[in-house]
Symmetry: C3
Subunit: 324 residues, 3 copies
């Protein structure tokens, strides 16, 4: 809720993109609609619009992620922005500079938009509370807290396949406890009024507060997948688990891996999603990841359009919608 | 031959640039002619043409090479492309993603052209066989197999100095066994109908199949250099040699290093080439590398024009030649 | 003096920017005036002018510095240049290539402007003596020798706050012995005819030749700060000190750290500067660094304008001043 307040300007405009919690269904729909217009740009040979020409976008990654950084870099360049990539493991913080000092310096260089990934929950919020009014922050993942653009591209992908989301059932499978993607996705799905959200995971990988969010919890994957329309697989974040929460990856696959047989329990036209990169043979069978129901690569494509939309919206350069 | 097939589209257009083997003399001449027009662009103060505006070029380097990556990056930027540099040692593959998964994801981000260097022979071919029809692959070196743009810039440089290549004699000196440059160059020279190709190397650094390619083999450098028009020195790839094929670099220099005295055995107007970076005092004497017959830095300059030509050709945005 | 000669073309134009020594007050004033015009560009939403369109700027950093590299990268991009970042720790020199070979190759790629940081004093001069007439070198810090753009942005910042520099007193505090910033700043201040320059430092951190440069030396910070108009704090370069020149950073702070109490000895409207990144609690108290007299972040902002001005001037694309 506090998050939700910070990301809006006093006039109600989206100023930062920090979390889908408290973003509201109307705002999310606005982002998805704008992303639809950018999806067209990316299909063309000349994938370039001038909405951020002369603006400077900084990719400030305190955790390395070539894939996510690349999608933001491409989104910014296709909006004609100048892009500065800063990999902070190799940077000034090794000289003892604090996060807020780094930001203050980049802001003094008239950088306009920070895309930030950080291992600590709340880092993007902290920065958003300190930047000038004309500077914008997009959270590209903060600790175990949120990853709003991933959630937005996921619901964008769902809406393209199942426009009647309010009548659909979504199952999220895997390590929900350590997943900022799952957390952001549940908030976005609830805001859009999705029919049903299920969580499927071993007890040790479940967060404590799911039922309060209206999520039905299943430990048994066969029961949980029955008749769902959308299956969202999560990456098994082995590096995140501090304790031995799981016996082994092969036992995990035996219990919760998505095989063709298990997928057959969902509706025949169910789609399968994954934020990538996939651990084939750990949380998902290659026959499913590469199968006809998989929309995993569509998610990647949609991620560019969503990130273009979010950047243009927070920067205030998005075309106005008719009738506003 | 299989290589040659993959790099052409069904309509005969050059779709990828994977190898000079099977490329054909007419096609190579087309590339060299187009590169001549870009050489003019690079001489101007404003070195920019809009042929790849809105296109996305990915430099995907699984082996680090700042120099080669820089020439491709500059070539792409001078064609007005957006460029994404991915150094794969530090990237998603550390999360266990396969080469084809990496490519599938970048393709889903609507990247148009992959410039790829990989330590395994055949890697660029593998990728070319899996990308969509409107996506293009340029091999920037794959294992011991091929390095076609280096070979093309070399024959471009030769043609500028010795337009009558069919009457000229070329000597390639050094570690031919581990050289993808030599392999690609021999194919290009044969396609252009060069007068004579000689290979000069110690027996342990010679590949087995040279005579089948019409190459005359010399172990003695003085005999091999006699009356040649063009001397191509190869870098001694010490890191490539798995076994003790050579006694020491000073003994190598004593036997096969290019000194002014040895160069005097070639024709007086012979040119000296080297793909760089040179090992001064190992395969080449500084007096030769920096001397009046050296065209080593011209090769670097020509490399930009050749890479611009290859990129524009495979992307289908090169200006049409008159009379086609 | 020799430095001063190299950086000018025979017609008196600034061809390289290597040092403020011998640059002359008129030339420095020309740079500051031009930077004023670029400061306006950076305040706009579209921070872009086409002065270096089609030019290639190489950031060649032999010492890593994300902050300085970022300011040059942004300055070049806002002038519409193509930018190539080369981090030489991870580059061709590991294959045994010399500095001049690296430069010769990049020059052969038709790169127009080298921004170079190097741990050895004189490295930028060496390069400037070897490049072609239409290639330009900007020294972004060479060993203990010079860092001219930092000095220029500092005097730019001083002039904005204290236009009557000839009546002002400047105190430089800290590790002058290992500071290329201090050295370049003293030359620039003298060229502009500043009223008084003081150096404040423990004896072990003072260079030997200060009095010859017209600088008054103080070991006692309270005496040195009395009635000054401008306080320039230096970063304590712990990594530079080869021997135990200082007891500990807390003792250093006790003796020479800038606290509010000490700053009170300067004139009430004195400004506080620091080249960054600051060591809070070592050479400066956070209450001063973040206080109303600090212009530290203004320096960062001004650094972009100064670097744009220097790049445009050496490249010969700066707008002509009226009346010349």
């Amino acid at each position: 809720m506090v998050d939700g307040d910070i990301q809006f300007a006093p006039d109600g405009r989206l100023r930062h993109c920090l979390t889908t919690e408290g973003m509201g269904g109307e705002r999310i729909t606005e982002i998805l609609d704008l992303a639809e217009s950018f999806a067209g740009v990316n299909d063309k040979t000349i994938k370039k619009v001038p909405l951020l020409r002369g603006h400077t976008v900084v990719n400030l990654f305190f955790e390395s992620s070539t894939r996510t950084r690349s999608t933001f870099e491409l989104a910014a360049k296709r909006l004609s922005a100048d892009v500065l990539n800063i990999d902070v493991q190799r940077s000034a913080t090794s000289k003892g500079e604090s996060l807020l000092d780094t930001i203050a310096n980049l802001q003094a260089m008239q950088c306009d938009l920070f895309v930030m990934r950080h291992p600590e929950s709340g880092a993007a919020n902290l920065v958003a509370r300190h930047v000038d009014d004309d500077v914008h922050v997009i959270n590209a993942g903060d600790g175990l807290h949120a990853h709003p653009t991933q959630a937005l591209l996921d619901v964008f992908t769902m809406r393209r396949h199942k426009p009647d989301l309010s009548e659909r059932s979504v199952a999220i499978v895997g390590d929900l406890r350590h997943s900022r993607v799952a957390r952001s996705e549940i908030h976005a799905l609830r805001a859009l009024g999705v029919g049903e959200i299920r969580a499927i995971a071993p007890r040790t990988l479940l967060p404590v507060d799911l039922e309060g969010l209206g999520v039905r919890v299943y430990e048994d994957i066969d029961a949980g997948l029955a008749d769902v329309d959308i299956v969202v697989m999560l990456r098994l974040q082995r590096e995140r688990m501090e304790h031995a929460l799981l016996p082994s990856s092969s036992e995990y696959f035996a219990g919760w891996g998505l095989t063709p047989e298990r997928l057959a329990r969902a509706r025949p036209d169910a789609i399968v999603m994954h934020p990538g990169p996939t651990n084939r043979g750990v949380e998902i069978d290659s026959r499913v990841a590469d199968g006809p129901q998989s929309v995993i690569l569509e998610q990647v494509t949609n991620g560019i359009a969503i990130r273009m939309a979010v950047m243009a919206l927070v920067a205030g350069t998005a075309p106005q919608r008719e009738g506003r």
